[in-house]
């Protein structure tokens, strides 16, 4: 276990609050809200999906450096019992790792050795895909399930504490992301946006599972935003006057939280149907937007829509990255967002105001952004390729922001397009509701699939490739680009020693120089990395963990 004496600041913070009478004394090791707020002060742990509420996915541990990273070696491996790809980021709390094993089990491991303490198994009644992680509050682990439940599990025994059915899985509702704990509530959002759900975010009491608030990402008639689901007109014979009922707006990824404003920020997915936009005229709020909600009430503070009337399935399924930036001599409480639609945005996270933005990838569906950040849309003609393609210039892959370099690091798909086409589709409960008649750019060659690939790759750059880019939010410049032959789905981790850790579809895990993109070290995982790395420390050793393929790999410096 990590000696507490190594982190006197944490003890001091906790003691201060307890002595001040603000908190009941937590049991040893309990993860309090204050610890979550100050997660950056305990870099030996990884307490939330993205590391901290600001979601920088940046570790301030400094044992592994650019000079010694070549000495990293494999310390342990955890192999899942089912042949499904991991998509999860683990949590690490004082020497214990909590991991979700696909599709939906919780595993507690010794973070030093990988030996298992216990497994909590959840057998989903239906639903596909894999879970992306956990949240923790006190000694309670919180997990959403692919059959749309929220489950509370005791962190010491692995025993169930409570579970609630958040939504009906028969309608294709599911929960894929790691929940977010704020104070004594746990917030989750629903997936199913490709099957015509009406998405929502909801907060539950972490002790009882009682619902505290709910925010529908698609407003009902009469509610603010409903005016963007415009009435049908005679020139739109396929238009659905009740389109909002199946309007999508899924929540695929964990949001962020700003303790100073008590706002929590969440990306909202595509409107439904995904591609046959003429069935749902209008901008279709709050689809393909970020929403800022009061964490206590779920009340909407502001929203910003990246892709109005989204006809490309661009979603807005990224991690909101919260940083304070010096813009023109003024410190701005900003939010960084490299969107699937190929544009990068800086928003004022207090007001939602658009500050600046530009394309970070090849884009032709819009010629640019106007002064309010609204895209100037330029739909391409029939049979013409649209850049980026339907999987986007980036996607759910966690970016990382390094306060040291001031750069945002993210995985992107390059030179990738789709020939978009659609047909009206009738809603059927639980069924795909996309209207897709899309085609690949190259006849006879499929588009790179969203997540899957076998061991053989004979694709070429004619249908797309991958890259990690280092992006300067203030100048809009790509400082460097590290290209991969295959497309890429891996999240990114940066460290205080200017390292960038990233996986790939190709079965490699590598460390790049944050200043140049040079590959300083790589290991073979042999699997497709669909998750994001983390770093933590146990017994004085910094470790780097990444789930790849069916296993979790943990690396540390070679013992002297």
């Amino acid at each position: 276990m990590t000696p507490r004496t190594q982190r006197p600041a944490i003890v001091f913070t906790g003691l201060t609050l307890i002595l001040a009478g603000l908190l009941p004394a937590p049991a040893l090791g309990q993860v309090t809200f204050e610890r979550l707020v100050n997660a950056a002060d305990e870099p030996h742990n990884w307490l939330t999906y993205s590391g901290t509420y600001a979601s920088l996915r940046h570790s301030t541990l400094s044992q592994v450096t650019r000079a010694n990273v070549a000495d990293l070696e494999l310390k342990w491996v955890f192999q899942a019992q089912r042949a499904l790809n991991f998509q999860a980021t683990p949590l690490v709390v004082d020497g214990i790792m909590y991991l979700t094993q696909p599709p939906n089990d919780v595993v507690a491991l010794d973070a030093r050795t990988g030996r298992v303490f216990w497994v909590y198994e959840h057998a989903p009644s239906r639903g596909g895909g894999s879970n992306r992680g956990l949240a923790i509050h006190g000694d309670t682990l919180l997990m959403g399930t692919v059959d749309a439940m929220l489950v509370a599990v005791d962190a010491k025994s692995g025993g169930p504490l409570w579970r609630v059915q958040v939504a009906d899985p028969a309608l294709a509702y599911s929960i894929r992301h790691a929940p977010l704990v704020v104070k004594d509530t746990v917030i989750v959002g629903t997936s199913g946006g490709d099957q015509g759900v009406r998405g929502f975010l909801a907060a539950y009491d972490v002790r009882t599972g009682d619902e505290i608030w709910r925010f529908y990402t698609i407003p009902a008639p009469g509610e603010p935003g409903s005016e963007t689901w415009e009435p049908c007109t005679p020139d739109l014979p396929a238009c659905d006057p009740d389109a909002w009922m199946h309007g999508g707006g899924a929540v695929w990824l964990t949001g962020s939280y700003d303790p100073e404003t008590n706002l929590t920020f969440w990306g909202v997915g595509n409107p439904g149907p995904n591609y046959s936009y003429y069935q749902r005229p209008g901008d279709n709020l709050y689809a393909s937007s970020v929403v800022a909600l009061d964490a206590d009430t779920g009340e909407l503070a502001w929203h910003f829509q990246f892709t109005p009337g989204d006809r490309y399935d661009y979603d807005a399924l990224q991690i909101p990255v919260l940083v304070d930036l010096d813009i023109g001599g003024t410190t701005v409480k900003a939010m960084l967002w490299a969107n699937r639609n190929g544009f990068f945005y800086i928003l004022d996270r207090v007001t939602g105001r658009f500050l600046r933005g530009q394309a970070f990838s090849r884009v032709n569906w819009a010629s640019g952004l106007d002064d309010s950040g609204r895209p100037i849309q330029t739909p391409q003609g029939p049979n013409a390729p649209t850049y980026p393609g339907k999987q986007g210039a980036t996607n759910w892959y966690s970016p990382s922001y390094s306060p040291r370099t001031g750069l945002l690091y993210l995985s992107t798909w390059e030179n990738y397009a789709t020939i978009f086409d659609s047909a009206a589709v009738e809603y059927a409960p639980g069924q795909l509701y996309t209207g897709s008649r899309n085609r690949s750019l190259v006849k006879g060659v499929p588009e790179p699939p969203e997540v899957g690939r076998g061991h053989i790759n004979t694709w070429t750059k004619e249908v797309g490739s991958g890259a990690v880019i280092a992006y300067d939010p203030l100048t809009g410049e790509t400082v460097w680009k590290w290209e991969t032959f295959d497309v890429i789905n891996s999240g990114v981790l940066t460290t205080a020693t200017d390292l960038v850790f990233v996986g790939s579809r190709e079965g490699y895990f590598q460390a790049l120089d944050a200043h140049t993109g040079e590959v300083l070290w790589r290991a073979i995982t042999g699997g497709n990395t669909l998750a994001a790395p983390i770093s933590y420390e146990v017994n004085g050793q910094q470790l780097v963990a990444v789930a790849s393929g069916h296993s979790l790999f943990v690396f540390g410096l070679r013992s002297p």
Binding site: G127, L432, S436, R437, S440, V442, G444, P446, I456, T458
Partner: protein, 262 residues
């Protein structure tokens, strides 16, 4: 009306025989395995709407599943296929679906025929004569291989009839370079030692390249050891537009579509 599969096959053979004898075209896609053409067409629309998002337009978007090639783990019969479409496959991304009977029939009809669906109007001749062309005048085995016989220089054709439609195969025979799929383009590499190797790409990633060289050796290269890596745009395969007659081409295609794997 729908014919029983065996009867339909016999009708197709008869039609093919009549075609060669009378010079009439056969609509290849009519060989639907007992499914109505209208069902196949409707199934194509349903597939685009409900299946192609994951499985891709060519049916190979999901790892280890190639719908065109008939690589189904659990859908060897239509009854099993219907169960998968309605119940999904637990533990995988394959979701359950709420299709009516007509939709189920249509999707199955299309998937069972998707490799031929884009075949359009292609004239098929006599498969036995086509084999003679393949092994003789066409000299195909100088580069290709079928069931262990022939060269490994070009793609193995043992199952080509299960993964390619007759229309696209005819395109390749007429215009090999113009219709060459990106992943079939030959490569030429020059190592830092000055060795030049031309071959067929078997696999590639950011750091490595695996190919079969012209000596039929499996070669693996670190890209850092290469001075040059060039994707060639001209196919080594000759066009048969002038060297084979229309009848020989039809015979050759008829043989190729019989190659369904071992």
């Amino acid at each position: 009306m729908a014919y029983p599969a065996r009867a339909y096959h016999l009708l197709s053979v008869l039609a093919a025989a009549l075609t060669v004898a009378g010079g009439l075209p056969v609509v290849f896609a009519q060989q639907g395995g007992g499914y109505e053409r209208a069902d196949i067409e409707r199934g194509a629309q349903l597939y685009d709407a409900f299946c192609s998002n994951c499985h891709g337009a060519e049916g190979d978007g999901v790892g280890n599943v190639n719908l065109q090639a008939g690589q189904f783990r659990q859908a060897s019969t239509d009854q099993n296929f219907r169960r998968i479409l309605t119940r999904g496959i637990p533990g995988t991304a394959m979701p359950p679906g709420d299709y009516d009977d007509g939709e189920l029939l249509a999707i199955i009809a299309y998937v069972r025929n998707m490799r031929d669906y884009d075949g359009g109007v292609v004239t098929l001749g006599d498969a036995d004569r086509g084999r003679v062309v393949f092994e003789g005048k066409g000299d195909c085995m100088r580069c290709h291989r079928v069931a262990g016989a022939g060269s490994r220089l070009a793609p193995d054709l043992t199952a080509i009839g299960a993964i390619r439609g007759a229309g696209s195969m005819r395109e390749t025979l007429i215009d090999p370079s113009g219709s060459m799929l990106p992943f079939n383009k030959p490569l030429r590499v020059v190592t830092r030692d000055g060795e030049t190797v031309t071959g067929r790409r078997l696999n590639e990633d950011t750091y490595m390249l695996q190919l079969l060289d012209e000596e039929e050796r499996l070669r693996s290269f670190d890209k850092t050891d290469l001075r040059e890596l060039t994707v060639l745009t001209t196919s080594p395969m000759p066009s048969y537009a002038e060297t084979l007659t229309e009848t020989e081409l039809a015979d050759l295609l008829a043989y190729l579509v019989t190659l369904k794997g071992l």
